[in-house]
Symmetry: C2
């Protein structure tokens, strides 16, 4: 069975405050990097898996149940073969 | 000045153990998702910035000084306009 890699990117929704991003933006300003504006942070997960027909649905299930909090976060999935 | 977004992806080097990824892989197995193998985790940061000639070097500097630990982590930068 063909092996693929699914990369799941999880980030806070735009309307949700991101204290980690704010802190990084402040640190960058204090370090003299004035050309930069807002910073948003997120996480990603690389899942190794077999390629099978239901894969996309299965990954959506894992994302909503385990990898993200759908109330405040969004995710997108990228498949790499 | 043109606004661009730089997305910095930071992940542990392949030879460095990733306990968070291991835990997620275990949780997935316990939840019945048997088709999946190893999981690796990482973080990303979206930096809003002006486009200027030295931008790439500046971002490399920020990555090594602030956003990643070059001893155990690697990063890659994606520019989105």
């Amino acid at each position: 069975m063909k092996k693929v890699k699914a990369i799941v990117y999880v980030r806070l929704k735009d309307e949700v405050l991101d204290p980690q991003g704010k802190t990084i933006a402040l640190a960058m300003e204090n370090m003299g990097y004035k050309e930069f504006g807002a910073v948003r942070s997120g996480r990603f997960f690389e899942l190794e898996c077999d390629s099978f027909p239901e894969l996309q649905n299965r990954i959506d299930e894992i994302c909503t149940k385990l990898l993200s909090n759908p109330v405040i976060e969004t995710y997108r999935v990228e498949m790499v073969s």
